[in-house]
């Protein structure tokens, strides 16, 4: 056969051994890794900067009590954000976590007050109930093929409605279980008011971080978000793993339901709407991409803390509440824009 296409002249070297060694001198893995940790350092640095600014602006900000109350405020949203980080890394979204949390809280009331279950059983059942919400989301998305946005939007409304139906629109009080409120509020360090809930949050951070970076679950979370079709072609049961990931997010929702009900010593059947967006905002500020494939637990925690510090700090320096929301909105836009700039340069 004769070849009609003239191919460009070859560089004067032995291609078999040197071609691929010589191709990209650009991004070495070490450099990439340094850049990766630098990114998180930057997010962390901006958190520190915000803390510094508020500390200078008000003497009431940087006190042990206030720092603990920031952590306390970050706990519930933070736990929701941890679970939803997994979902977002797969390229999905979960809008049902806010009202799902409220419904879980109501179910805690059902288990503990209406049914009179022992504390441990009620708490466990509540967490599992959250998992059930996630499982249904996962099945709807993965088996029925409903897009995540729609599937979880539907679940968001269902959960909001069921909370009202089941509770009869009235708060449920944990009158048989005075201990229930200590799950969130019990002070575990003598001298300062360091609540058990914050310790649970910290433990969950570690659990989520290990799950995401050290286990097969985390690997497939990134893999699905990075290229779902290719992951499936590689023989990974993507459907099953997506169900598992949404269920995991649901378990975090259930736990958040326990903690928020515990904090208020009652299951409030209203609210929760909007909380999912706060959690998603924390994830996004933390550098997790809504396109999937990229993200970290550390980033999400920093994101949740930035949100909590802002809300707290603005209140302390007496910025009216209506402006606080504006400030948080601006922070989200700036954070995501900076993240895009960074990636574009990378």
């Amino acid at each position: 056969m004769t070849s009609p296409t003239v191919t460009p002249p070859k560089p004067d070297r032995d291609p078999s051994t040197t071609a691929f060694a010589a191709i990209d001198k650009g991004a070495t893995p070490r450099f990439a890794r340094i850049r990766g940790s630098l990114q998180q350092l930057l997010a962390f640095a901006s958190l520190i900067l915000i803390v510094l600014v508020f500390s200078l602006a008000s003497p009431h900000f940087f006190t042990t009590n206030n720092l603990v109350s920031i952590l306390t405020a970050a706990t519930v949203t933070g736990i929701l954000a941890l679970g939803t980080t997994f979902v977002i890394i797969t390229g999905g979204i979960d809008l049902s976590i806010g009202t799902g949390m409220v419904l879980s809280g109501v179910m805690a009331g059902v288990f503990l007050t209406y049914l009179g279950w022992p504390l441990w059983a009620g708490v466990l059942a509540t967490i599992l109930f959250g998992g059930l919400i996630g499982l249904i989301n996962g099945v709807n998305i993965s088996v029925l093929g409903i897009p995540p946005f729609i599937a979880t939007l539907g679940m968001m409304l269902i959960a909001a409605g069921l909370s009202l139906v089941i509770s009869g629109t009235k708060p449920i009080y944990f009158k048989d279980h005075p201990d229930f409120q200590s799950i969130m509020n019990l002070s575990i360090i003598p001298g300062i008011r360091f609540p058990l809930g914050v310790a649970i949050f910290i433990v969950m951070i570690v659990v989520a971080a290990v799950l995401l970076s050290k286990t097969i679950l985390g690997r497939y979370t990134f893999s699905i978000g990075s290229n779902e079709a290719a992951t499936a072609l590689s023989g990974v049961n993507v459907r099953r793993w997506k169900i598992i990931i949404y269920t995991l997010a649901g378990l975090f929702v259930g736990l958040a339901g326990v903690l928020s009900a515990s904090r208020l010593s009652s299951a409030q059947p209203t609210g929760g709407m909007g909380l999912e967006l706060e959690a998603i905002a924390a994830v996004v500020i933390g550098g997790t991409s809504l396109q999937g494939g990229k993200g970290s637990i550390v980033g999400t925690v920093i994101g949740a803390l930035i949100m909590a510090v802002l809300t707290n700090g603005l209140r302390i320096i007496s910025v009216p509440q209506e402006w606080q929301s504006v400030a948080v909105g601006v922070v989200i836009l700036v954070a995501v824009y900076l993240d895009m700039l960074r990636r574009r340069r990378a």
Partner: protein, 509 residues
């Protein structure tokens, strides 16, 4: 060859059929892969190659036919099962996870685990390193795939396919993104993979590669066998005629003709910050000006700078003798310059919209009433008109462009610019990814457009194509024009010579 022929084939497909609603993709196809051979599988787009591949990958289930591996009847149940059977496939689109590392990609779904749930990253990397040593590949297992060049990503794909201990390796256009040196490495890998108990099915459009790499060539046409030839006993013309079902004439040149009058488009002193240096040329009505050059010489950049897709540093553009200021592609098209991008799928068509919508997209204003209502009846008429004129193969003008073949998608792009009635059309790689038969139609179209008085600029990496169509040929190297030749003075050799006239300054790294 003789021993292979007498023994049982490694892979033996008989009477394979597969239909989709409205299309019989494969019809009673036979395919034999012998031990120790590279079998080239060729055919025009839509001939059934990728359907056959997907059957072997376990993605589709055949309607009829038997598959035998080493003489044993097999039923491929899914991608994982195919791998377990020893059939590894490198798909045309990359199937990598850009956010994962090289090793994580290769062993996805087969991770080294400690205690069932936890990953053992270190032994994963060790395993990958060993694999690369065995294959002689310079890859770092811990590097993230998105950091790699396209060529290296291709190597990761191949390493992944080989890591399955495959007996049958199927490659779909594996060299599409590789340069020559990289192709050499790939072929060396294939050579090393070829053993008495393995075989390779190699799908490619590039005829010259088949001679180098394949032992036999099986041709598909319209979902049927069109013939199998031993590579050493055939030539390119025979293979192409099997593919298209007719003989294709050899090298043709346009008849030299006098092109006179004012140039339609005149570019002078065009420079950009990144690459172009002082590029000047003219195109006349009725003329095809070809742009030749190596990859990265700046041909696409010239087009993009002219239409304002990239910023210009200096330079003047005149249309019909009058200087025009063009800041973006919309202004360019208002001045009558249309640019048909090389990246058809991303920049040329809306895959999810209908043929007629695509055709009128740039000219939509002409189909809109003063109140902003779109006149669908006229759009339908225009759509039908161009489908007929350009012979676009589609069941109706409402068909989604996604469902058209590459050649027909390209025709839709051309129709779009014709509907806009531009005086200058810049075609960037108009036949890339288009099969041989459809290429001929595109060539005829370009010539027809020139004869109608359009001024045509055609950028192409295939010298035979440039020589065949262009009245004059501009050659670029390193962002400069190194020659503008009349077709009669141009040969593949002197074009290549001008294309490699690198300046001593070396403006690009």
């Amino acid at each position: 060859m003789t021993s292979a022929e007498t023994s049982v084939p490694l892979l033996d497909l008989r009477g394979v059929s597969k239909g989709f609603p409205g299309v019989q993709a494969l019809d009673d196809v036979h395919l034999e892969l012998h031990r120790g051979e590279v079998l080239a599988l060729v055919g025009e787009n839509g001939a059934g190659k990728s359907t056959l591949m997907k059957l072997l990958a376990g993605i589709y289930i055949p309607d009829a036919g038997s598959f035998r591996l080493n003489g044993r009847e097999i039923v491929i149940e899914g991608p994982k099962h195919a791998q377990e059977l020893g059939i590894s496939i490198i798909h045309q689109e990359f199937n990598l996870m850009p956010d994962l590392t090289v090793a994580q990609n290769i062993y996805i779904g087969r991770e080294q685990r400690a205690a069932g749930f936890f990953l053992d990253e270190r032994s994963l990397n060790r395993r990958a390193r060993k694999l690369f040593e065995g294959l002689g590949l310079a890859l770092d297992p811990t590097e993230r795939v998105e950091q790699l060049t396209v060529a290296k990503q291709q190597m990761v794909e191949i390493a992944k396919a080989l890591s399955f201990d495959a007996k049958v390796l199927i490659m779909d256009e594996p060299t599409a993104a590789l340069n020559d040196a990289e192709v050499d490495v790939l072929f060396e890998l294939i050579g090393r993979f070829k053993r008495p108990d393995t075989g390779v099915i190699y799908i490619s459009h590039r005829m010259e590669e088949l001679t180098r790499i394949s032992d036999r060539i099986t041709v598909l046409r319209d979902g049927r066998n069109a013939g199998t030839r031993i590579t050493a006993e055939t030539d390119q013309r025979e293979v192409i005629s099997l593919m298209v079902g007719r003989e294709i004439s050899g090298e043709q040149r346009p008849v030299p003709r006098a092109i006179d009058g004012e140039p339609v488009l005149a570019v002078s002193g065009l420079s950009t910050r990144s690459l172009l240096r002082d590029v000047s040329f003219e195109v006349h009505a009725g003329e095809i000006l070809g742009f030749a050059g190596l990859m990265g010489a700046g041909r696409t950049e010239v087009a993009r700078a002219i239409v304002g897709a990239d910023p210009r540093e200096s330079g003047e553009i005149r249309m019909h003798g009058r200087p025009v200021s063009i800041g973006n592609p919309a202004e360019a098209s208002r001045h009558g310059i249309g640019y048909l991008s090389e990246d058809r799928k991303h920049l040329g068509v809306l895959l999810e919209r209908s043929v007629r919508e695509n055709i009128v997209l740039s000219a939509l204003r002409d189909y809109t009433s003063t109140l902003g209502f779109v006149n669908d009846t006229r759009i339908e008429a225009t759509g039908r008109d161009y489908i007929e004129k350009l012979r676009i193969k589609t069941p109706s003008s409402a068909q989604l462009v996604r469902n058209l073949s590459g050649g027909n998608q390209q025709k839709v792009v051309i129709a779009k610019w014709l509907a806009k009635d531009c005086d200058v059309l810049i075609f960037d790689e108009p036949t890339r990814g288009i099969d041989v038969g459809a290429k001929e139609e595109i060539y005829a179209l370009l010539k027809g457009l020139a004869e109608q008085g359009k001024a045509i600029v055609m950028i192409s990496s295939e010298l035979p194509e440039v020589l065949r169509l262009s009245d004059r040929i501009a050659v670029m190297a390193e962002g400069r024009l190194t020659a503008i030749l009349d077709n009669a003075d141009a040969t593949q050799e002197n074009l290549m010579d001008y294309a490699t006239r690198f300046s001593s300054e070396g403006t690009i790294a």
